[in-house]
């Protein structure tokens, strides 16, 4: 048996709901925005992390511009070639294949190689450490090793190990969010390659000072410059740099590097840091 008191409650709430429903219906019709369904499809394909690596603030914005302009040179570095292909087939154009890039740490000054000047007890953040002095490590160009960049990585590709940031090359999508997060500028973006040689040092100190501060520092000895057949290595301000365009990955430089821990590193495309030492 339904109580009499039920009826006015149902009636009043029901009529309120009906009125509100009608308003919502009217508003949705009146202010309807025509949206290109392809934008939604493209947006669904995109990774959706809003990292900003493409130059647009969000994935949605990228999708809108891409659908509108159909510009085949636009690319999402995070998605890589797979995504480019998907986007191409959805839009019926041939997308340019993005070059896979990765973040690279130009430092090997871990707790074994680098010497510290002082103990640091302050806030565990690189920027905070640089407010007190150049950082706990003697080398002012080094990875401070407190991991400010890690918080900026949306892909979980960075971790701290033995006083250095380690980048997982498989997880790194090359969005570049970590680069401005570093106060010493020791993180750079480089193209992924089957075999890639690079100088894992950022120190512009003179050789003697670098050697004093770190076992793995580039002392600008010129040996690698002389042995390189491709003229790919130049020394600028007491630091060697390998031109990735010219480098043919012959590996001669790594054989002659005289530092205690080789300052030249070989990285194979995905992960795995290998070191060869002259026998």
């Amino acid at each position: 048996m339904i109580s009499e008191a039920f009826i006015p409650a149902v009636a009043s709430l029901g009529s309120v709901a009906l009125v509100l429903g009608l308003i919502i219906f009217y508003v949705s019709k009146k202010f309807h925005v025509e949206e290109d369904p392809t934008v939604l499809i493209v947006n669904d394909i995109l990774p959706g992390v809003n990292c900003g690596a493409c130059g647009y603030p969000s994935c949605g914005q990228f999708a809108e511009v891409l659908v509108e302009t159909r510009d085949s040179s636009m690319s999402c570095p995070v998605g890589g070639p797979d995504l480019a292909e998907k986007l191409g087939s959805t839009l019926g154009i041939t997308m340019a294949e993005p070059k896979p890039i990765t973040a690279v740490l130009l430092c090997q000054g871990n707790n074994d190689n680098a010497r510290e000047t002082a103990q640091y007890f302050g806030i565990q953040d690189c920027w905070a450490a640089t407010q007190t002095y150049v950082g706990p490590k003697q080398c002012k160009y080094s990875c401070i090793g407190l991991g400010s960049c890690i918080a900026f990585c949306d892909f979980g590709a960075m971790r701290l190990e033995n006083g250095l940031v380690v980048i997982d090359k498989e997880l790194c999508t090359g969005c570049g969010a970590c680069v401005p997060a570093c106060p010493t500028g020791v993180l750079v973006m480089q193209e992924k390659k089957a075999e890639r040689y690079f100088i894992a040092c950022n120190s512009h100190d003179k050789g003697a000072a670098t050697k004093k501060a770190c076992d793995a520092g580039c002392i600008a000895c010129q040996k690698c410059v002389k042995v390189c057949d491709d003229d790919a290595i130049v020394i600028d301000n007491f630091l060697a740099r390998i031109d990735q365009e010219k480098c043919t990955a012959c590996g001669k430089c790594i054989e002659v590097c005289p530092t205690k821990v080789n300052c030249i590193l070989l990285e194979r495309d995905l992960g795995e840091v290998k070191q060869k030492k002259a026998s």
């Binding site: 002082a118 806030i123 920027w127 407010q131 002095y133 150049v134 401005p180 106060p183």
Partner: protein, 441 residues
């Protein structure tokens, strides 16, 4: 007794060296003279390796409007010009000078005192500029710039800052006692630049009664008022001192001259006197060497460029318990990573302390007790600034008055959770700066 209105703390004074007369430290064999000892653009080095210089010779020329000259602090030979550690914690271009032991002044400098009353306003400011004088309290703002405010700003109050509110430090205290004539003469020179209208004050905290007595005896006949201030930190901060003495408040974005005030440090006043009357450039300063861990705490007169390691040897070497050396006072000074850094124009003290409890004093969470808000002299909410800094919300933090923080350290001092409030604020300032630089680039 006068003091500033908002906030403030009273840490243990620990002025161990207040009764020790200033000792002249002999010039060491090698000096390291940095080119940036002031706020603004570093000076441009004028010397090359091998150049012979006389004491007081210009070795770094002011480069730009806000910059200051740097002079050789002794006679000798330039050994090198390269980036070396600076007490600010960074590396700075530094002239290495090997002393020849003669300590010979260049011609025409450090003469017998002349009467400054015959000099014009421009000549006085010119001499201050040539002498490379900067604010010696810590910030190092070029004094000649401060002495020439925009013409539409009328200065009616000139204040000499003898508060010396930082614990341990006694350099200004000793200077007020031992060179009270020079202090007053220097203040008169500064006040004379602003005509008859300017009223001159010397603000001294009440824990330096002997200095108040010595100064007032000589100052009152000259119309200078010596004001005894209630001992409270940070009384020596420019804004707080103005508030304590005149009752005026410097609002956000304003400078002291907007409220008709000019504040100079005691050391600066003596330097102004020496520059104007004796034509002596700023080549030495008084430094307090103190802390529980130094063999013989002292007040010393050291030439600019004397390395801290030489000073620690002169003061009887640090004890084995030393694990932190601070340049400046314990509240605002910087912990150092090497003793190879030199005394600069702004080094007021060197403290050798034992901080062995520091590892256990890690940050804990905020308990919202509100103590930091109570003590903040700038009326900020430090706990909130630190929280927002931790969240990296750098738009919000600027609305909360980040730029208003003077980094006096009162909030960190009182925090029962041992939060590094000032460090978080400095961190936020660094990142806000970095972001603006990237935006404008």
């Amino acid at each position: 007794m006068k003091t500033f209105k908002t906030g403030g703390i009273h840490p243990p004074e620990s002025k161990f060296t207040e009764n020790l007369p200033i000792e002249n430290m002999p010039v060491p064999a090698e000096l390291a003279i940095p080119m940036n000892q002031h706020l603004g653009k570093p000076a441009k080095s004028l010397v090359k390796v091998g150049s012979e210089v006389k004491k007081g010779e210009l070795i770094g020329a002011a480069d730009g409007f806000i910059s200051a000259n740097v002079h050789a602090s002794t006679s000798g030979k330039v050994k090198g010009v390269k980036p070396l550690p600076h007490p600010s914690g960074q590396y700075a271009m530094t002239v290495l000078l090997t002393a020849d032991g003669k300590d010979e002044w260049a011609e025409g400098l450090n003469t017998e005192p002349v009467n400054w009353r015959g000099l014009s306003k421009e000549e006085v400011i010119g001499r201050v500029k040539n002498a490379g004088i900067v604010g010696m309290g810590g910030a190092g703002f070029p004094t000649n710039v401060k002495l020439s405010p925009p013409p539409d700003k009328k200065i009616d109050t000139v204040i000499l800052n003898g508060a010396e509110c930082e614990p341990f430090l006694t350099a200004d205290h000793r200077l007020m006692l031992e060179s009270s004539d020079e202090v007053i003469e220097g203040l008169e020179i500064i006040a004379s630049l602003f005509g008859e209208r300017a009223k001159a004050y010397i603000g001294v905290e009440s824990n330096k009664q002997d200095a108040i007595d010595a100064l007032s005896r000589k100052a009152s006949p000259k119309g200078i008022e010596v004001i005894s201030l209630k001992t409270k930190y940070p009384q020596g901060a420019e804004k707080q001192l103005i508030n304590a003495i005149t009752g005026r408040t410097i609002e956000e974005g304003e400078l002291p001259f907007d409220k008709g005030c000019l504040v100079q440090n005691i050391g600066t006043a003596v330097a102004v006197y020496e520059a104007v009357c004796k034509n002596k450039p700023l080549v030495d300063r008084i430094v307090t060497v103190s802390g529980l861990e130094i063999g013989k705490p002292k007040n010393i007169r050291a030439v600019i460029g004397t390395r801290f390691s030489d000073i620690s040897a002169f003061c009887g070497e640090p004890k084995t318990g030393t694990n932190q050396v601070i340049s400046g006072g314990p509240m605002m000074g910087k912990a150092l990573f090497t003793l190879d850094v030199p005394v600069t124009k702004t080094t007021s003290g060197i403290l050798f302390i034992n901080n062995s409890g520091i590892e256990n004093a890690r940050e804990r969470t905020c308990i919202r007790c509100g103590k930091c808000v109570e003590v903040c002299p700038q009326g900020l909410a430090p706990w909130l600034l630190a929280n927002v800094a931790q969240l990296r919300d750098f738009d919000e933090i600027q609305l909360l008055g980040l730029a208003n923080c003077t980094e006096c350290g009162s909030c960190t001092y009182v925090c029962p959770s041992k939060r590094e409030l000032v460090h978080w604020i400095k961190y936020a300032k660094a990142l806000v700066n970095n972001r603006q630089q990237r935006k404008s680039a």
